[in-house]
Symmetry: C2
Subunit: 117 residues, 2 copies
DNA sequence: CAAACATATGAACAAATGCTCATATATAGT
DNA sequence: ACTATATATGAGCATTTGTTCATATGTTTG
């Protein structure tokens, strides 16, 4: 009987690796995680979210503030809304966007901490 | 003299919006933030990072574990390494990869919390 | 209702991304 | 030195992504 080895190399059948597989988050969660972070993976969207951290803003102000076209902004807002990261409310002609919940802010802050070392 | 209005619409010159701009994180940080989250924005990379959360693994085991080609994995590991999210150490022919620091884990967990509501 | 304003959307296109295939590099064993 | 093993890398390709341009939708005002 060989005794257990401590290396993991080519040990896909060993207890260690089987346990590792079982302890991994469900595949589904990992795909959703990637989808969530995709929202933060574009500088335009990150800048939008950063601006909305302070207060709600209308599309026109957001576009001017970030220096991007109304159309590009609108496309990105739609994406962020589908991902439930922002919400909107209408007031007459104007539509105000704001962050959907606190998670966005905490994800944001966590990332900044890492970036700033 | 008009008195201050409470709506923000078309108020790019107002105090409110000027303050908002000043309070935003520096542009540079936002670009780096997007680059950081790009690493988490692909399901292959997320799965790699998830596997490495438990323990270091060699390329061969990782590929088998995740069911992806050695080449695809190697390309992604290079990307993750350049982003300083993983590190590697050689032991003979074998190269073991592990997470570079605790930030990866906390970013990971934070995202999962959001995904799981 | 017509005109002006605020935002949304579809098509088209360029750039970025992730994979595969073939090949290169590095190490170990004989 | 030769071969096998483990990992890395470059080129090519298909897919995805973000933008622009033109146009559509919705809302207020005269």
């Amino acid at each position: 009987m060989k005794k257990e080895m401590e290396i993991s190399y080519l040990h896909l059948n060993s207890k260690q690796v089987r346990r590792l597989i079982q302890n991994m988050p469900p595949e589904q969660d990992l795909y959703e995680l990637a989808d969530l972070y995709k929202m933060f993976a574009d500088s335009t969207r990150v800048r939008i979210l950063a601006a909305l951290q302070r207060k709600e803003l209308c599309v026109f102000d957001l576009a001017a503030l970030l220096g991007i076209s109304q159309s590009a902004l609108s496309h990105q807002l739609r994406i962020l809304k589908q991902a439930k990261l922002v919400k909107s409310r209408r007031e007459g002609k104007i539509i105000f966007y704001s962050l959907a919940d606190g998670h966005v802010e905490s994800i944001f802050k966590q990332g900044l901490e890492h970036v700033r070392e």
